[in-house]
Symmetry: C2
Subunit: 440 residues, 2 copies
């Protein structure tokens, strides 16, 4: 695919004098789609339905001011100093309160490790467990940032089918059996059981129990990533997998969606022996997470009615979810999509003639961005699907974005009807940044 | 060494149901000495000469207040949001100013990547380059946190001899030649050329030029870790290695020692192709560094006379270095030690009869802590050396600490003289946490 004149990877290699020095794992490091997002989404004329940025303007800034002021007055020199690798005890105690809202009531602050956002915990758990060639089980589709991290440790992802009730237990059993026959080593099941990113679906209670049973029986650890659990819309969320099994689940939580991602405070709750190793991994990675930010979070939780604040977020995102659902009904009734009970994302199934990756440059030209489904599969699937996020734009912008998207899609479908193909390539396409994006 | 009744690693393994699931690299993960430090040093009655914590009380808190207030007023919703994986452009521009004080004048903000402290950059560079069995060259002794990170990627460290002028070029050449004969793959030279942690020595200008020549000739990348460069006491520091070679040096810098470690803002300046990969590695690790903290740093640098503030730190640490040097002269004239021109640490050479690791529990009992030399070698050396840090305790506490240390050392030497051995083991020793520690 590379032509002599291209300024592509091949040329880049030749220009990099250290090309032969990199570790084997670095060969798999592909240009991230996260950066492209920021480039696209930051242009104000584009309606971005691509990112996963929370609407932080819904957070009254005086709450942060107040938390900061108290922190500096009462813990200033501690907040400016190094801390322990596990995180400060005060925030770990409060994290127990947050997790109790997800049904986790048997945890100890000793088993919580705070990290630089929950992505960091995801990375360190991967570092602790994954040898090259190991297999991680994950929903089909699954969070793009997790797929990238697993790849960075040279692990393979085996996707497990989902439906509107989340991961399908029978598919999980079949996938495990198949991999075992092949002699593969399965290290853990990675799941976003609540308001899945990108699919928007939630694993039912019955299935949670089944999935836990299967993994216990097969001695497969579960890595439960739950950034959206408290952002439910229609009814309170289901109990976390971790609430039903303390021994076989590593639980990841985050303040990014219920407070602020700019603070980068997340956490892992892990069985004792794993937690010990996780602390060592944090120390090797960053010495200690930011005490400054942990204290801001601590004082915020102490001073504000944070549960009421989360209720406010729910109202904001519920309205946006509804705006997106209505706009899709109005402008793209011929397609199907999920209607999530919480979280940030709607998963849209296109018709077989449409290719979300190929269509993206045209969409950006029409001033709307989305994330092609291919970003959420490790195996090239997802061309006929896309993720739309409703978290950041206002309801009006969401409607505008969906209207623009409908123009693009309907234009494509007209072409298919007329010429039997949607492969309309223009010189512009090569100049538009390919596929955006997602951030968390 | 493990007895049946021990509550040791062997028992721990049996209790951990996931013991067989860990990655190969996790086997080398040893209980970190950093945590033990915090346990020891936090007891107020102990004079800790063990840690590497900067004296953050020397930073006027109103400067942080002012930076925070402006940040929230002018960039609030940006500071609370996700950022790009490379870090915000504003802080990267200012980092150029900081680096220009180290002689680096040809850098571009495009080639700077901000990280969660420079330890994070160290970790990610290691992840990019190190395969299991690769070799990293490092000073003998070398920063304990770097040794831990290299080990976490299953690399081996080959120590290169130093003297009062830092790394010895001839020793570097010999080590390289020896390793090449053995067929080993050398990935980079890790060096703390300014006010070495732990040795306190500085690589001379002549040697910097020689080391750069040797590494260029041998096609060995240099990883220059420079957290202390601006904290000089007697005369301005020497130009960074990076200032003389933009192609073969990755430079690591940090705000931990010139502002606050609690913010966890560090950076890497890397050749173009490496920088591109480093950004991808940041994204896989944490999505993006904290925008909140980057903005605090940005506004601090914009608003305050930060160079004058650094001059203030120099005065604080110079006084403490002098206090330690004088106390050693007074109480332990029979030993030899380095007198650093900057930084945080003095390296003490004990007599052959003394074992710093074995002596530590007795020192802690006498209410003084230090870091045994063994922490700074990957090969078990350092038993007859110790690191004393003068950064955190006041001059009075430093004098008290050295006096206590002299009591312990002289007590040991008396024993040696009387009985011909210092191996005085009591039941207490097993109960005292073994060897502390260092943080950065």
């Amino acid at each position: 695919m590379t032509h002599p004149g291209d300024v592509g990877p091949q040329t880049g290699r030749n220009l990099d004098p250290w090309y032969t020095s990199y570790a084997d794992r670095t060969a798999g490091l592909a240009a991230s789609e996260v950066r492209a997002l920021f480039a696209v989404a930051s242009r104000p004329e584009v309606v971005s339905l691509a990112g996963g940025m929370p609407f932080v303007k819904a957070l009254p800034e005086e709450l942060i001011h107040s938390a900061f002021t108290t922190m500096m007055r009462e813990h200033g020199s501690e907040a400016l100093q190094y801390g322990g690798g596990q995180g400060i005890p005060e925030v770990r105690e409060q994290i127990l309160q947050v997790m109790s809202l997800e049904g986790i009531n048997d945890a100890s602050a000793d088993d919580v490790v705070t990290t630089t956002g929950s992505q960091h915990a995801l990375d360190l758990v991967s570092k602790l467990f994954l040898n090259p060639g190991d297999v991680v089980l994950a929903e089909a589709p699954s969070y793009v940032g997790a797929l990238g991290t697993f790849k960075s440790y040279q692990a393979d992802v085996a996707h497990v089918a989902i439906d509107d009730d989340g991961l399908i237990p029978e598919a999980l059993e079949e996938t495990i059996a198949h991999l075992r026959v092949e002699g593969r080593t399965i290290k853990f099941l990675y799941t976003v059981a609540n308001y899945n990113n990108p699919a928007g679906v939630t694993m039912s209670l019955e299935r949670r129990i089944r999935v836990l049973e299967i993994c216990r029986r097969e001695h497969i650890l579960i890595l439960e990533d739950n950034p959206y659990g408290l952002l439910y819309f229609d009814k309170p969320g289901l109990p976390a997998l971790r609430s039903m099994d303390a021994e076989n689940v590593i639980y990841l939580g985050s303040f990014s969606k219920i407070l602020s991602p700019g603070l980068r405070v997340g956490w892992a709750l892990a069985p004792h022996a794993i937690r010990e190793k996780l602390i060592l991994a944090v120390e090797a990675s960053i010495l200690s997470p930011s005490t400054f930010n942990q204290w801001v979070v601590t004082e915020y939780l102490r001073q504000s009615d944070w549960q009421q604040q989360i209720e406010g977020y729910r109202a904001v995102y519920r309205e946006r979810r509804d705006a997106m659902d209505q706009a899709l009904n109005e402008h793209l009734p011929q397609l199907s999509w999920t209607k999530p009970d919480g979280g940030f994302f709607v998963w849209v199934r296109l018709t077989e003639q449409l290719d979300s990756k190929q269509m993206l440059p045209r969409a950006v030209k029409e001033l709307v961005a989305y994330t092609p489904g291919t970003a959420f599969f490790a195996d090239g699937r997802g061309r006929h699907e896309m993720r739309l996020s409703f978290c950041y734009p206002t309801p009006e912008r969401i409607k505008l974005g969906v209207r623009r998207l409908a123009n693009v899609i309907n234009g494509e479908l007209d072409l298919v009807e007329t010429f039997g193909t949607s492969t309309r390539r223009g010189p512009d396409e090569d100049r538009v940044n390919m596929p955006p994006p997602n951030i968390s």
